[in-house]
Amino acid sequence: MSKLMTLSEAIQRYVHDGDLVYAAGFTHLIPFAAGHEIIRQGKKNLILARATPDLIYDQMVAAGCARKVIFSYMGNPGVGSLRIVRAEIEAGNLEWEEYSHFSMISRLQAGASGLPFMPMNPTAAGDLERVNPNYRQVIDPYSGNAVVVVPPLKPDVAIVHVQRCDAQGNAHIWGIIGEQKEAAFAAERVIITAEEIVDESVIRSDPNRTLIPAFIVDAVCPVPYCAHPSYTQGYYDRDNEFYLQWDEISKSRQKVQEYLEEWVFGVPDRVAYWEKLGEEVHQRLKVGERLSAPVNYGLY
């Protein structure tokens, strides 16, 4: 059963005001196009969860879509601060809930596994556990020692960008795979954006590469270049220049508004956005071919 639809349709159907949204990706495969579409559709009061909020959450917060962020590292990766989220937190305008990387990912792992909590070894740092009551302790019944636990994170909707999938949503992902699989299994609804929609036979040629099975997927959206300024391994490069530029843009609220006007509200979709970026950017982000050695599954 095909679940193909436009990204606009998928956001309309599956992202509701007030939802807890997890747009997955650790630096890689961040679904910027979906964030922009959420902004265009004026979604409100979202809870935005991500280990690493990255620029996409800075932009969504700037656009007034969010009432809260959940994160473990709030920075512009490799550059510095995430200025909008930071300023809104400092100004008391934005709720936040904070973890370390492993506790954030353990929450997703618990959500994906249907467990009421995940245990972690103690870190003894203490302060984060003190300010966030979601951290609890249980006693290890074997040693009598304390173990730290976190509750499951179950997003209302996960948005996962992938290199290729079939029309049903069986998705091949490679490169940095961060928390994509866990986010999809933890969530109630799953939107897949893909660089390429491929025939089922391509997926079936390499089942070990399929991290997300179709039956947990609600929408499949063909969105080439969805991840820019983040990247898709093997398809285009990370636009490090834009990450540096955003550091400048985000110093001024007016410039941020201008950016949103021009690059989000000013384009109908990702096709237009990519065209608008222009030939120089296209060339700069182009990548050459480095293919995997094939494996033989065998005819049985």
Partner: protein, 256 residues
Amino acid sequence: MTEYTSPELLTINAARLLRDGDVVFVGVGLPNLACNLARRTHAPNLVMIYEAGVIGAQPARLPLSIGDPTLVSGALSVCGMYDIFALYLQRGNIDVGFLGGAQIDRFGNINATVIGDYSHPKVRLPGSGGSMEIAAWANRCYIITPHQKRRFPEKVDFRTSAGFLNHRQEREAAKLRGAGPQAVVTDIGILEPNEEGELILTALHPGRSVEEAQANTGWDLKISPSLRFTEPPSEKELKILREELDPNRIYLKGGE
């Protein structure tokens, strides 16, 4: 004596702390350079692991972020984030972690979260990322930081990751897997924990003084009875850094 910048000095001294065969959890920036320098000098069998889930990277360019695609193409292995923290770090497979933060206190505790009150932050910092776990579970941790009084308070505003807490015994009682911070490399010298877990000055870089170190530390900095001077950066170390590792001076330019 050859001239060198402060980042070069930090990087070279950090590199020397690594041992051949170490499995290192690497960040971008200076730790990345330090590891690559160590591999090209005394530690050819260093295993470099990036928190993004990349093992044995062979980057063809200097990565801006820890999730750069150049780390992935040609790496030995890539795994998910849960696995890198659970199977590698928590399992005890990581020998060395590098840490940084806005504040490092007398007992090596680190603040990367907030200046001021947590609920009403004066300055909101990026937060823990993986440092809460790295500080607890890597066998040894190293900190690279400029030596400034505001970075070395008596006590951190927020304890993002554990050094020796209030005393080495307190860390030991917490039964953490790792041994805690083993050295803080600054542009003035090197601090190491004493028997109580308090950071004391154990080495000075050439031309720097005890007084300078004490004046730039927020607590009454003790001096090791066996205080030594570090070897100045060698021609070879500087050459590898400048010609092979960061030819465009992205991380190594001075003036920080």
